[in-house]
Amino acid sequence: MKKFLFSAAAICALGAFAAPQAQAQSLNYGVMQEMFGEPVTTSANGSPMRASDAPLDMTIISAEDIARYPARAIPDILRHYAGVSVRQNTSTEYSVGVRGYNSAMNERLLVLVNGRQVFEDYFGLVNWSAIPVELNEIRQIEIVRGPNTALFGFNATSGVVNIVTVNPLYDDIDLVEGDAGINSYTRGSGVYTWQNEDKFGLRISGASTKIDEDDNNVNSAITSLRDEVYVRRFNMDAALQLNDKTQMRFEASSGVVDENQKDVFDTVYGRDTDNKSVRANLNSDTDWGIVDFTMYRNAFESEYKGAAGTFNFENDVTVLQLSDTFKIGTSHTVRLASEFRTNTADMTIVGLGTASEETLNIGSLSGLWYWNISDKLSSSIALRYDHVETDFDPGTLGYQASPFNPEQYQNSYDEFGYNLGLVYKPTDIDTLRLTFAKGVDLPSTFELSTVIPGAASLYGDPTIEVSSIFDYQLGYERQLSSINGKFKLGAFYQYIEEMQSTRAISTTLSYYDNVGDSEVYGFEAGLEGLTDGGIRWGVNYSYSEIEDDLISTTGTNFERQHSDHMVKLNLGYSPTEEWAFDVFAAYESDFKQAVDITASTSETRSIDPDVIVDAKIAYSPSKFDGLTLSLNGQAVLGENEQSAAGEEVDSQIFLRAKYEF
């Protein structure tokens, strides 16, 4: 272990390299976007680039777009984009999938805030309500479709959602906001920025939310579920300009959520979560290129209370990233990067007095070569190597009844991933993208080492294989000045080897295993525009088909729980500067879903096709500068039947008052 730690630290110190998660976030997005007339990103391949040059299928949701939505949480926005499936399980808990394989506690989606992963490592799940970011402080949300582990790291197996907040050095945002709605929903939030010339900026933000879950009837048979849900978040973001070319940024956050959540067995639990993080970043434009060093620590604590008992998880993740991005000549950009990550997860089963601790240490090297071959053609090659070592301390639990011997709990992996992309622009308004990727899905600590003895025992498999994802994509985009918009088409095929899931050995014993292969293929088409009369509109259609080749004893069935068709529509109109009207509709075709019947039994139900319509009317009176009042509705046509864990989530109507000063 010490040898490994030393080697990993040496890699970072020598520094030539870093995992591409460490993006050059000090880029002044606002200035660049204004100059180029389109969003810019550092996430596409680690180097700064315009969205239209990105060598992957990416959608960027701007701050202006975000303001149009009647949203309480980020998934309320993601729901309306092509290829994204959002299933709301309770009033605050969501499952989000990109291009299929959406499931409760989906571990196939990587979510980042300014390059910091916010998914909870012990299971790879995302607690969306605990993400310590307010919608009003987001610069843009980037949706990347397809496996991009060579660019972003593992878990980016089906897609990536990268949330970029405004930089307090460049953007001065000061506001207070209050919501009140049905189901006793109340929320207060605020963002305040303090700037000292061009040298220092500090932004603090926070929110407190309460929702009465009782009417959602998540499952009255489970008495441990919460009738009231609470969300409390705080974030601090400071940026210091050390000199013309060097910037330091420091962030600290907290997200405390007491809610109901659906687990991997489609069982609803009460969950109390306390997530904290600190992140420091140093970014400098040197003679050797843009050198970026990031260090962050996430501390997750969750308590699950359900029919099967009470489980406590503690998960600490510390990450060091170092990268150098530089240009060679006039047409080559190179990025060399390294990452070291140590991940410790503890699980305690309350009442059994048992505990276990799993440690994952990961060292990564990665490289990118972006070649601007001509005005019309560019290529991007990203490679990443991960070395993983696992260690397990059984604590007071021991290895009792585990089908694996102690030696098997010490394991290591060596994995390569890659992302290859070609972008061809035959004209100024047409873009063709061809990409090929191999993604790597490392098992989570839960899948590796869980030890839950008892009548329905569940064990992690320390010998489980890494899952590989092979992805082929072809995309086309055309700017259409005649409609002030664009047309977009994308087709994909993905093959997944050695999927990881639970496998039933007997009626009383299950463990995680590689349960077979699966493939998904499909396409997305979208058209959006803005009329001369100021009506903004968009429509997109997504088709995808999953074909599983899984063993019969696994509880997983992606084919069954997948919606083949999705249609999303949006329409907006601002007749004056004071008024704005927006309507969003999202349709998902039918699927099947396991649903709790009682505290200990469930059944598979067919969920009918459903349309979720969200709407917002906003009024910004000219006599009260900075004030915006809005009436917001979610699922206004009726209960959100399809997205729920078999139990409907109520429509939500709320008033929002926002004052910017």
Binding site: L27, M32, G37, T330, L480, S482
Partner: protein, 175 residues
């Protein structure tokens, strides 16, 4: 019904086939130029006088110069720069004191000698016409239509002693 579908398809195809036409130098071009100049390391800031190099004997050159002076003669704020345009004849440009010179179309014959004379003084030559860049007589060329395009001549930038930040260089075209 068939007619209705046919009409819908034709409209859709027409939308897809529509391409925007080329446009002359516009206020948007000048705003992008101002923004881009702001990315020059230790470059100009505040009020920046830009000499619009004109060949009075060339109608296209004169028309473009008049148009630009109409746009920024009274100043145009763009980022940290306020561009102020003034016409200068191609014959007088080499001896002028403008920190930035803009080459209009039709001045190609004089651009080489002007660039040779002013580049050593750190004068930044710019345009919206590619031929100036292709001849390495312009440090930078910008266009706003049909999409924003910023090109930098590394040879001209080197001769002028101009450098840009790394992030900016990665987002534009260098040649």
């Amino acid at each position: 019904m068939k007619k209705h579908y046919l009409k819908t398809m034709l409209i859709a195809l027409g939308l897809l086939a529509a391409t925007p036409g080329a446009q002359a130098a516009s206020q948007k071009d000048m705003q992008i130029l101002g923004r881009a100049l702001g990315f020059i390391e230790n470059g100009p800031s505040g009020d920046v006088k830009i000499g619009i190099v004109t060949d009075s004997g060339n109608a296209a050159s004169s028309a473009e110069a008049d148009e630009i002076v109409g746009l920024i003669g009274g100043g145009l704020a763009s980022g940290k720069i306020n561009l102020v345009g003034e016409k200068v004849s191609s014959g007088a440009a080499s001896g002028s004191n403008y920190p930035v010179l803009y080459f209009t179309q039709g001045t190609e014959g004089a651009q080489g000698s002007i660039f040779s004379a002013v580049s050593s003084k750190g004068v930044i030559t710019v345009s919206t016409h590619d031929n100036c860049l292709n001849a390495s007589n312009c440090v930078m060329v910008v266009k706003s239509e049909p999409k924003v395009d910023i090109k930098v001549s590394s040879a001209a930038a080197g001769s002028t002693g101009v450098s840009f930040g790394s992030a900016f260089r990665m987002m534009i075209t260098e040649q």
